[in-house]
Amino acid sequence: METLLEVKELRTCYYTGSRVIPAADDVSFTLGRGEVLGVVGESGCGKSTVARSLVGLIDRTYTRIESGQVLFGGKDLVKATPKELCAIRGSRVSMIFQDPFVSLSPVYTVGDQIFEVMKAHDPGLRRKEAQETILELMRKVGIPSPELRVRDYPYQLSGGMQQRVMIAIALACKPDILIADEPTTALDVTVQAQVLDLLRQLKDEYQMSILLISHNLGVIASICDRVMIMYGGVVVEEGTSIQVFRQPAHPYTRGLLAAIPSITEEKEELYSIPGTVPVFQFPVTRCRFADRCERAGERCFREEPPLTRRPDGRRLRCFLAAEEGRKDC
């Protein structure tokens, strides 16, 4: 598979008063063409920070990309100027956000908001010429009777329809990569299923790559080819969906999977990971999950385990599981 995006040792830190918080630390991954990569983790584990760092959508007063590279189309986006980033955002890399109602402007019609993106990347474009394309886009994302809806304001649409408009905006310039940050979290399950179907269909049609961020393991499993589990700002496990969901290796991944109540099987007592997600200060010199890990040994509190690749292709950041893996092979 052709590699579209390569992220190398990305580190993004938040500066709050005297503290430096590594929200994303040593994050490396690749995204191939037509591939769906899922990023999973609890709130505060750095999922959104990674996504936003990729396209420079971070508040530079408090946040800084300390080091690392984001290689896309032969360019390092970390070093790109704001102007260059603007040209890429919306046209080659698009993003959809969690809450469509907040992300859409309340004072412009849906059609105008779709047109805005197209115009931003093609200044000569006229609204009238674009009308047909806009309607086509709205049809594509499954908005019924687009001729009428195109003149609606966001408040006139339901949550599911608003999210479809967001997707239409993201698709307006036929991007190579779609970053979807919790795209279905604000939606009901039946509508969520519709939006997931739509994403799946668009991926096949446009050969688009999707970086899907979610805390919902069900959503991730139903659409992603590969999954990356994050904890405390670092990637703790990464592999194909089958590997991660069928044979989770990292204690955190295992805990996460055991903690969700199941529809199909009976579980009397759910597993719960003790403690809460801590906030780390830079530099971190221990396994970030050690406090909550039942199997943590003395070494886990002394050094941070590196992200190593195992023979089966998955990457893992754990001393214990790595040893187990060696025995298995």
Partner: protein, 326 residues
């Protein structure tokens, strides 16, 4: 089995305000449209539905935070009115969704948990503390927590404080309105375990409201599925999953993505979205989205009928089977 709580044909309509220059009288939002349920002692009754189906309105009517447009609430064989409201609120307590906004930031944890006692009893400080201490231990918080403020705790711990407050008056029934939907999965599971444990140990009953089918399934003994202000199916948890009768319940279950990448893709998702409760469609409220809708469905409102013993459904597809209306 002893009936703890019974609601008889509860309706709650919210009138819409008349617009300027509007001639015709404004409509009403039929948030809850005739719900009759029985909750038995020691039972956890789950209430599931999508946003806007009236789950929360129903819970607020049951709690008597808002008066119903029509209908009666019976508790332990007595009809609840304004007169026995104080007594009712002692026996029935509520756990809220958002542990950040449901705790007063300026009160210490001790004051928060003691507040129901202050309202309902004349206990002195020592007696109150004697009640609070064991609750705190049951809920899994250290005793130092008593003198702290809510902001010093994480989301999961705050929800525990909310539960402790609900337990202070030793209620028989807890109404839990989306108690875990604001929490992360690893925290959510520990709160769910707590609910299950308390049901066994303290003999508590729950009305457990959630939009998450897997959460409801884990906690509840029986489940009521709501759609647009009505209960469309009601059955024991196992029975509901084994023999789903109503097409909406079926669609709801198929829509849940399983945390297994190799799971077979379920039948096509339900088309469309729930209609507006301002002007609900005639007949069965689900007929616009129902794959099996027949002509009759757009004319007649199906009643909730017992199809097999203990399994109720409101659907014309199953008409002619089974017995009486609920």
């Amino acid at each position: 089995m002893e009936v703890l709580l019974e609601t008889k044909d509860i309706k709650k309509y919210f009138p819409l305000r008349k617009k300027l220059f509007q001639k015709e009288p404004p409509g009403v939002v039929k948030a809850v449209d005739g719900i009759s349920l029985r909750l038995y002692k020691g039972e956890a009754l789950g209430l599931i539905g999508e946003s806007g189906c009236g789950k929360s309105t129903f819970s607020r009517v049951v709690m008597q935070l808002i008066p119903p447009t029509q209908g009666e609430i019976w508790f332990r064989g007595e009809r609840m009115t304004k007169k026995n409201l104080m007594e009712f609120r002692q026996r029935v307590q509520m756990v809220f969704q958002d542990p950040y906004s449901s705790l007063d930031p300026r009160m210490r944890v001790r004051e928060i948990i003691e507040e129901p006692l202050r309202v309902h009893t004349k206990m002195n400080a020592g007696e109150k503390l004697a009640v609070v201490r064991p609750i705190l231990e049951r809920i899994g918080l250290p005793e130092e927590a008593l003198e702290k403020y809510p902001h010093e705790f994480s989301g999961g711990q705050r929800q525990r404080i909310g539960i402790a407050r609900a337990l202070a008056t030793q209620p028989e029934l807890l109404i839990c309105d989306e108690p875990v939907s604001a929490l992360d999965v690893s925290i959510q599971s520990s709160i769910l375990n707590l609910f299950k444990g308390m049901q066994k140990e303290l003999g508590l009953s729950y009305l457990f409201i959630s939009h998450d089918m897997s959460v409801v399934k884990h906690v509840s003994d029986r489940i009521a599925v709501m759609y647009l202000g009505r209960v469309v199916e009601l059955a024991e948890t196992k029975e509901l999953f084994a023999n789903t009768l109503h097409p909406y319940s079926q669609a709801l279950m198929n829509a849940i993505p399983a945390p297994d990448p190799a799971a077979p893709r379920k039948a096509a998702a339900l088309a469309g979205e729930p209609p507006s409760p301002i002007d609900p469609p005639p007949g069965c409220v689900f007929h616009g989205r129902c794959p099996h809708a027949a002509e009759r469905c757009s004319r007649e409102v199906p009643s909730l009928r017992e199809i097999t013993p203990g399994h109720f459904a409101a659907c014309h597809l199953h008409a002619g089977k089974g017995g009486e209306d609920l």
